[in-house]
């Protein structure tokens, strides 16, 4: 059983009670809500005659259903409009802060909470969204919950939870040029499998992780859930503190100094005990692309789509399903696969550093004519920063569409979606069947720079070949 890890320390600190049945009642330090998974929770609260017990510990935004073309109200889609107006009404009635459209603070919930300084080390963070694991990048214990649990947090500021085991994923060495956090996490999930993390929290550590910026760490933790781990985290360090310094909700003045001291004490002890440990070597990782229908079906750009006989027996059935759905032949290369739609954005890769990396590739180039390419910044703040740096101009000059912030075609709850069997190069997190809005649409997951390269060439391209000589 794990001991003295950050997970153990934060867990212990937030235990409220032991519940009948053996679960732990855990205090939730920050509760984030959005329009898709909260309306039924508020309705259940009303049905039970309950109110929100700590409205100041819940923060709301709207992200999943917002259109990225015109965000004028009322929305063209009456169902989307109903969802947002329901959220507005619920927040207003219960005294919850809502960062709405045009506030300057709206965006994907996992992008705005860090940029506003709401996400801090040592917190427990819950949200009705599986990618809540993102916030673990700060040394928080953050996990997705269902709507019944959203109701529970609203009513009690606590949750019934069972403690996870802790697996340390140690990444030695350094990532090579043209290889990004996205490639690293796709590689880790490919090796450990999409169910490898069930029952675990993932601690990402080691020299390669320590060298990552906060935004890159967020990309890693964001996709812990794609490996089955409900939460992933990185121990807080100087990089974390430097990111947080002067953020809107970060502690200030003497409280900053006190916070630093406490935050530093949270990191896993050198002699911490883990339930499992595994090591990766960063320098051996190449740009990684998925070829199938689970985020674990990834290969390096130099590799070929695996032959069924080279896969472990338990992976063959889903591989067969993937060949058929994707229309790919085992043994053929992934490089050169033609793409029709290119999407840069999402809670995985819709932050300013992601847009910068993609813009480096797009600058002075042209998106291939037959390709539809678009960039959806993760938040209003990201959009503003990008515009200030002229990134929007670089993208539009290259033939990308520049859109308003939201979740967009990661899950296609708005009008951004694939049509028919279209195939996309996407910087998002899931390549599930039908994920991007068409029941037979196909998704290739990759880093934002790789998506930009795919847009220009019209096919899956090793981004390192486009940047040769530029380093």
């Amino acid at each position: 059983m794990s001991a003295k890890t950050l997970y153990d320390k934060v867990w212990d600190l937030h235990q409220v009670a032991k519940l009948p049945g053996g679960s732990t009642q855990l205090f939730v330090g920050l509760h984030l809500i959005h329009e898709v998974t909260s309306p039924q929770a508020f309705a259940a609260l009303r049905e039970k005659g309950l109110k929100v017990i700590c409205p100041e510990r819940t923060v709301a935004t709207v992200d999943h259903i917002v259109p990225t073309t015109s965000q004028l109200r009322p929305f063209e889609d009456p169902l989307a409009e109903e969802m947002l107006s329901t959220l507005e009404k619920n927040c207003h009635e219960q005294g919850i802060t809502l960062h709405g459209l045009g506030s300057g603070k709206q965006g994907i919930v996992h992008v705005i909470a860090p940029e506003l300084g709401l996400t801090q080390p040592g917190m427990t963070i819950a949200c009705g969204d599986s990618h809540t694991s993102t916030h673990g990048a700060f040394g928080a214990i953050a996990f997705g919950i269902g709507t019944s649990q959203v109701r529970d947090v609203l009513a009690s500021q606590t949750l019934s939870m069972n403690k996870l085991k802790v697996r340390r994923i140690w990444v030695s060495g350094q990532l090579s040029n043209g290889v990004f956090a996205k490639d690293l996490i796709l590689h880790i999930i490919q090796v450990l499998g999409v169910k490898g993390g069930v029952g675990y929290a993932y601690e990402f550590a080691g020299p390669a992780i320590e060298s990552l910026s906060m935004e890159e760490r967020m990309t890693i933790c964001n996709m812990a859930i794609e490996g089955g781990a409900r939460c992933g985290y990185v121990n807080p360090d100087a990089e974390t503190f430097s990111y947080l310094h002067n953020k809107l909700h970060a502690p200030k003045g003497i409280y900053w100094e006190r916070a630093l001291k406490w935050w530093k004490s949270l990191a896993s002890d050198e002699r911490a005990i883990y339930d499992d440990e595994i090591t990766f070597e960063a320098s051996k990782i190449s740009p990684t692309v998925t070829w199938g229908i689970t985020p674990g079906q990834g290969i390096s750009i130099e590799e070929k789509i695996p032959l069924p006989e080279t896969l472990p027996p338990e992976e063959r059935q889903i591989a067969e399903e993937a060949y058929k759905y994707m229309g790919f032949t085992p043994g053929s290369p992934i490089e050169g696969t033609e793409v029709e739609v290119c999407f840069i954005g999402s809670c995985t890769n819709g932050r300013i550093s992601d847009l910068k990396e993609a813009a480096k590739i797009a600058k002075g180039k042209k998106v291939l004519e037959r390709v539809k390419a678009f960039v959806v910044p993760g938040s209003e703040q990201v959009a503003e920063e990008a515009k200030a740096e002229g990134l929007d101009k670089i993208f539009t000059d290259a033939g990308f569409e520049w859109r308003e912030p939201g979740c967009s075609m990661c899950l296609a709850m708005n009008s951004d979606r694939l049509i028919g069997r279209q195939i996309s190069a996407s910087s998002s997190n899931r390549n599930f069947k039908g994920r991007q809005g068409s029941s037979n649409g196909r998704t290739l997951l990759m880093s934002p720079a790789m998506v930009a390269a795919a847009a220009i060439k019209g096919k899956v391209t090793d981004v390192r070949k486009l940047t040769k000589g530029n380093h």
């Binding site: 039924q40 019934s160 999409v194 296609a412 029941s439």
Partner: protein, 204 residues
């Protein structure tokens, strides 16, 4: 679709009814209920849309459409069922279609917790045993199946298989404590101590 059956309430000791099988590992919640059906402020109409895209593709041959499976309430699945999105719309859609209990090799964590919060037990068994149960279900000629929570087993009139149900959830189901809200609210005082002592809520 068995819309007339009432939703789970109180202690859940066993589920009597009929079982059917849905084959495949890693069936994600996007497949159980595609995102476009999440555009709703109530769960009420989700039952008819469960597995919408898969069913459309199979044109009546999907297990949820086959005539012999209508009215079934126990679902047998394979590994990592319910992976992906945290959307409770997935178990809500299954429940509103008529599912009251699920047996599988393994379940994704958030999905498992979402089911428990609705009073839907998820029981596990080894891969080999799940395949046996699926075979028996496909060839079933009697319609009387029972998922017994206290005995941790599934049986028909001829055969029986032992299953695993985690002790905590098992106790919660048997006692009717699976809806956690009232227990959580009861500890308001202890919660307030956290509120007034956690460093990050109290100027460190």
């Amino acid at each position: 679709m068995n819309t007339t059956a009432s939703f789970p309430k109180g202690p859940i000791k066993k589920i009597d009814g009929d079982a059917f099988s849905l084959n495949g590992d890693d069936i994600d919640t996007d497949r159980i209920i595609p995102a476009r059906y999440l555009k709703c402020v109530s769960f009420n109409s989700l039952g008819e849309d469960v597995f919408a895209d898969d069913r459309n593709e199979k044109q009546g041959e999907h297990p949820f459409d086959k005539k012999e499976n209508q009215g079934c309430n126990i679902l047998i699945v394979n590994a990592n069922f319910g992976c992906g999105s945290s959307r409770e719309h997935a178990p809500q859609a299954l429940m509103r279609w008529g599912i009251r209990g699920i047996v599988g090799e393994s379940f994704a964590e958030i999905f498992y917790g979402n089911c428990l919060a609705l009073g839907i037990p998820c029981a596990t068994a080894s891969k080999a045993k799940v395949l046996q149960i699926q075979k028996a279900v496909v060839h079933r000629n009697n319609q009387n199946w029972t998922l017994d929570i206290s005995r941790e087993r599934i049986n028909n009139e001829e055969e029986s298989w032992d299953l695993n149900i985690e002790p905590g959830p098992k106790e919660m189901l048997l006692k009717g404590d699976w809806d956690a809200t009232s227990q959580l609210i009861a500890n308001e005082e202890a919660m307030k101590i956290k509120l007034s002592t956690l460093p990050y809520l109290n100027n460190f």
